[in-house]
Symmetry: C2
Subunit: 360 residues, 2 copies
Amino acid sequence: MEITAPKKGTLKAIAAELGLSITTVSRALAGYSDVAEATKNRVRAAAAAADYVPNSAGKMLVTGRSGFVGFLLPVRETAILDPFLGEYITGLSAGLAEQGRDLFMTTVSSSQSEATVLKHIVDAGRADAMVLTRIAEEDERVDFLVKRGFPFVAHGRTLDHSDYSWIDTDGKQAFSDLFQWLYQELGHKKIGLLSITESMTFRRYREDGLIGAIKDCGDPDVTLTTRHVPRFDTASWGEAIRSMLESENRPSAIVALTDELALSVLEHAASLGVSVPESLTVIGYDNIPAAHYSNPGLTTFDQSIRSTAQQTAGLILDTLDTPDQIQQKLVSPIFIRRGSHGPAPKPVPNSLKTVSKTKG
Amino acid sequence: MEITAPKKGTLKAIAAELGLSITTVSRALAGYSDVAEATKNRVRAAAAAADYVPNSAGKMLVTGRSGFVGFLLPVRETAILDPFLGEYITGLSAGLAEQGRDLFMTTVSSSQSEATVLKHIVDAGRADAMVLTRIAEEDERVDFLVKRGFPFVAHGRTLDHSDYSWIDTDGKQAFSDLFQWLYQELGHKKIGLLSITESMTFRRYREDGLIGAIKDCGDPDVTLTTRHVPRFDTASWGEAIRSMLESENRPSAIVALTDELALSVLEHAASLGVSVPESLTVIGYDNIPAAHYSNPGLTTFDQSIRSTAQQTAGLILDTLDTPDQIQQKLVSPIFIRRGSHGPAPKPVPNSLKTVSKTKG
DNA sequence: CAGCCTTTCCAAAACGTTTCGGATGGACGA
DNA sequence: TCGTCCATCCGAAACGTTTTGGAAAGGCTG
């Protein structure tokens, strides 16, 4: 027996075994150039043999970094975690893993506020950075982190989003393009918008995109009928949808803010005998899995969540490396044409179309 | 200016401010008896004023504990996180927060195996203990943690579950009691069992409970029809359910392994014109929120997930305090009577009933 | 008043890592 | 031969906490 063998699995143990100093072992593993190639190899071999994994506390103490990125799971009571989040988390986790970081998720229980949990994470140094999602037009979490100067990336943005890093899909452009397509290519003039009551920023951008495009086209015959429903209160959607479908001035195309809403429109249309796409066009947003299996398949926008999540991980890296440099990314969703769209049922007799391309 | 003011928000800073030693400040905050009450108060006040939060890395380094409890989120690709998990996580998180611990969740991306992620967490000391869920009859995660001697609590159990801590609901007893009630109180003799193909332990226990009770009752007229379907492949359920419902020897009571399955039975029964509960009794298990809103309301077992999750947090505490003492808890689910059950449609003319209590 | 016990406090070590500022030895140029 | 430079290595400090093993001071007992 030696005097005292150092505890297994530490730099000290490897150093003792190899007759080197702790410094050299540390630097060899970190790949510094001031340690001989031969030595590096010896060290690497010994480390591998000993199943060496650096103690995170030791590293954290000296670097001040935990290697964790924090995420607040928006699970409330019995609420379901939607497919969007599931995929996003998976992508984010994978992206961070590539950087050697871990994703640290927490829920907020009913007894705490989201702000309390956030404060705890920041104060206790549980995470080096945060990822925020489901951003509202005004968001106290964003305000808190900005004020504290704590690194974070928002997936989505607040109304005033100049002074922090975010990544978002360009819903405004998407809905603007969408209207132009509906109008010019398919001849729709009676547009229905099914939106949510909650004041989320993405709602505003999408609505603005649609409304702005309608204004810009300058056609006085174009009408817009809008209904707002509570986002997660599925039970209350029916009334709004039926009132749109049963109105004597029924829209020929209904644009829904999310796929969930669009699918609900599809269901009610079926039960009311309104055929899609012959007499009604329905467009969604998100491209959730169910959108693929509906009948007819839902025409919608794909946010490529996985890739967005990966990019978020990249932004986190940037934010940590260069904290004072903010990064903002707007990604364009991809339009997915499935079966829920078609030309407007009653083509206007002799209108003043600008360009009239017929889809091949 | 002082020589060098210690960094804000550390024990050293508070000690310097108060003219005390670091030791005393540390012990005062920890509530040791060898520091005067007056001093304790001074320290507490100063700590509060400075918004002092102990640096977790420092604490971790010396105690060897991270304060994290790990949890592997079973999110796979686009798979939805079910309501069960959402509630469980929330409860677990709340229970751990009371102990000053944090719940550290990770997903496993498609490129890694669950075992790899688990190994990483254990090796890197990311968590002090683990919570495992969705336990299979044989489970490599359980084996791994047992072999490594790493503290964990399983929610559910493997077939051989003698040497680790777990908490589970007593599905065997529940299904056994269920049959007795169906048979003795409601007069059902043609039982259908809709189960899953996956070899989960909870499946086996529930099946065993039902089958055992049927054997025990000794009535040769009792028949059991069983169908196994893939748990998450909802599309494939219909065939199995219809074959049961359309069989000329249709069961008068169908017992489903989960509420999802039971609700699907309800739907198919409705579309086939089989009235529930008049000509068919349907029983579920889990009491998911949707079970409350179905038509008729689903009679099922409630696992009181929230409370189970809280208890899991308690078990974690025990496991960390007394690592060599294993804890095993079997909790009884609560039977929830709603509208999907009724007496057997054709009462047997003149049978040999043992006890015949009629429900009031 | 001496000895002992209590109360209250503290110095120093330890945890495992990274990194700064050398130290050592040999090769090479002058 | 001496000085310079490079390649390679290492000692020691630092991060912030907990804990061990006292130490100092005062009160009490005899």
